[in-house]
């Protein structure tokens, strides 16, 4: 209610307080309540995982981080193998997706014909909305068969590099079985790369598009070519967005479940050879074992889930901090 008799002769500058009168106070309380509820839900995720995981964590102690096998019913389990697998798959995915994402983002923001840009932005968003199970199908039934040649070539020529080594093959062995190259972290990584590239791309594009027009024109006025302008203005401006987008994609890549689960064949040893068949990830471990888990086994799975949760949370926080601290990332979004 407006109080006409109030001594509001000299109203203070700035926004008036939100609660003026009953309606506003109710409004304010309701909104705050929704904020609290949302926060509560988000906190409950961590809380209940911790609660449920406590039993298993107490039973294994710190060896949870160093054990590779997963046999919770004899109390021998840990996430060393699955965590390595998760990180390797995510690393492959990010390595492949970042060049694609940066290139596409620059293409959309600066190179593409103007009439085409909106369509391309929509296509990138659509790509981010394609269900992961569809990517999984494509990876399993299409990509896998076509990527064996590349895997073999990589392992033949770069096998001296530990990551690309494949056990049980020799370069130039014509009888080598193709099956050692399937269901590997590399194949899963390619599929996950396609899933995270659009997310990274849309964050980066948004930041690139915000690069100040004055500086762009200044660069052109000084005689820069388009690529010179991009290097001198757009990329430095968008650095925060690029890092933030990359990290966001990394977080998504680590959490991806179904596509990875469909492609890899799970192993419970630390498998550093990304081209070789057999890998694992935390999320596919959960998807694999939730059905047949005993009560204690479920607690162990919860502990693995908690580890994944904390890992992605840390990555995301880092991403948003970097993006927020840079000049550009203020309005970046997923």
């Amino acid at each position: 209610m407006l109080d006409p008799h109030g001594p509001v002769l000299d109203p203070p500058p700035g926004r008036p307080p939100a609660a003026r009168g009953l309606g506003d106070r109710v409004f304010r309380y309701q909104l705050t309540a929704t904020g609290v509820v949302v926060l509560g839900i988000m906190a409950a995720v961590g809380l209940f995982l911790l609660l449920r995981a406590a039993q298993a964590l107490r039973a294994t102690g710190p060896s949870f981080l160093t054990t590779a096998q997963w046999q919770p019913d004899v109390h021998k389990f840990g996430i060393a193998a699955v965590l390595t697998g998760t990180l390797l798959i995510a690393a492959v995915a990010v390595t492949l997706s970042v060049p694609l994402a940066v290139g596409t983002a620059l293409f959309i923001s600066d190179v593409a014909p103007r009439g085409l840009r909106r369509t391309l932005v929509s296509l990138v968003d659509l790509m981010a909305a394609v269900p992961s199970v569809v990517y999984g199908l494509w990876g399993l039934f299409f990509l896998q068969a076509h990527v064996i040649g590349l895997s073999r070539w990589l392992s033949d020529w770069f096998g001296w590099f530990p990551l690309f080594k494949v056990d049980g093959t020799h370069p130039g062995d014509p009888l080598a079985s193709a099956s050692v190259y399937t269901a590997s972290a590399f194949v899963a990584g390619i599929v996950v790369a396609l899933m995270v590239a659009p997310i990274q791309c849309s964050v980066m594009r948004e930041v690139f598009a915000q690069a100040p027009a004055g500086e762009r024109e200044g660069a052109y006025a000084l005689g820069a070519t388009r690529w010179g302008m991009i290097r001198a203005v757009v990329l430095p401006y968008g650095k925060g967005g690029m890092i933030g987008g990359t990290m966001l994609g990394l977080g998504r890549a680590m959490g991806e479940t179904i596509a990875v689960y469909m492609i890899i064949s799970p192993v419970f040893v630390i498998q550093p050879h990304i081209l070789q068949t057999g890998s694992n990830s935390v999320s596919s471990l959960i998807a694999l074992h939730y059905g047949d888990a005993s009560s204690f086994g479920m607690s162990a799975l919860m502990a693995a889930g908690l580890a994944l949760f904390l890992l992605t949370l840390a990555v995301n926080f880092t991403a948003s901090t970097i993006a927020a601290r840079s000049r550009s990332g203020a309005q970046s979004e997923a």
């Binding site: 008036p16 209940f48 190179v111 479940t257």
Partner: protein
Amino acid sequence: MTVVEELAAPVEAEPATAQLPDVPRRIGGPTRSGVLALCGAAISGLCVSVLLFGELAPFSGALGFAVTWYAVFLVVYGVLTGLEENGQAVRDRVMTVVLWTAAGLLFSALAMVVGFTLWRGREALTYLNFFHQDMQAAGPLDPLGVGGIAHAMIGTLLMITIALLITVPLGLACAVYLNQIPGRFSRFVRTIVEAMTALPSIVAGLMVYAVWVLQLGMEKSGLAAGFAISVMMLPIVIRAADVVLRLVPGTLTEAAEALGAPRWRTVWHVVLPTARSGLATAVILGTARGIGETSPVLLTAGFTAATNYDPLHGPMISLPLAVFSFVRSPEPAMIARGFGAAAVLMALVLVLFVIARVIGGRGPGQQTRSQARRTARASRRDAARFAELRRPGLSLFDAPPHESPTTPPTPTPEPPAPTDGESAPQGPPAPADETATTSARSGGEADTEGAHGSGEAPAAADGESAPQGPAAPDDETATPSARSGGEADTEGAHGSGEAPAAADGESAPQGPPAPDDEPITGGAGGNENPAGGRDSTHQPAPEAAPAPGETTD
């Protein structure tokens, strides 16, 4: 800065640039020699790789062939460009090609993923029973003529409905909270929500499983799956809606506040309608993500081959989960069903996406034609209501004006008794146009309407409020007019970003508690001194007259 450091050198190195004719420089776009160089490089790359793969080296494989072709193409293209351009231009051309390639790769991957799914799904989609039967009667070896995915479609529909019932009110309210009630707590909530947008979906499923199944002892059901999808969708929807709400022009909310609208009215009548299309897009994109998620459903819904309409009891299945379980079978018919279900899912996502794009294609505040018409109609209704209020019988505005020392002879010193009496001092051209008359009488209101059409109107409003200010006299008579004016304008302001300026003028009647000094402030929205304000009452009137004429036709 870096721009100068990197670019100054070439510019200085070529003093000839000073003598160049005064035409704009081409920055992008194809040139004849560029296109020829591209074609030549492509052909040369093809020839070199055919030679390498066919004759010279023991290479093989389609992928290697393509990569060699591309590498040779890039090198040759660079050399060809270098024949007639300097190093900078060569780098620019080559990088342009590289960027085209990156985008082409990404989009062709998208086309391949979608196309492959739809192509492999065509087999199952030709069977009609695929759409209206469930898998109860179909054994693992049965052909496609038996069984379908009706149960999965129903399950998906129920789950996403539950998820939307939770996510939409909670998510939108939370986004409004983040925008409207700033503070340390809301900043904290925003940080958490942003960190949660990349919450692994299986963790969402695990959490609901821990709470619903383990803690509360409920069974796996469609409801639990709906909860899991909600947990996953909530941060996504909140974040997208938050971004959209931030795009609502601050001037609009300021206008509503300046008119005295309470915060909740501002949100309800200005912020949410302005952001409506963007909010719908946020929700629909969240829905598309929620529909496609497998892993939360995998943990919480159980698995069934039968149709289950009851989300409270018994296991349920969703489309992505059905895809997942179909393709784990080695039977070709099952795999075909999996692809069919994936194609249906993909089509669903595509449809949702197109709807989102159609709705969200406009920026905040841009109206469709029918919306603009509705807003104009509401404005006219308000104008009529104001005319009603200003009827002499009601005498709301007829109180004697306050004689303020700072405003010398105002154009409206005498109480405006007849309807046309006040428009007379408006200036000669103020005509028989009824809208103009309304604007003269209830200054800010009708001008808001004018602002729908043209950007000129706000200035008029500022001038207009000058007579309004000094005339705003005793507290109790001015207050009702100010309040009703505020509400009317809140509704009127939906459409246009120009309205706030008009509202600045309107805040003059807002200031009844400060009668003597405030009129200056009210008028000073556009003019610094009262005299200017008085002058402007004569000038903007002809400007204001055509503006309403545009919208009221």
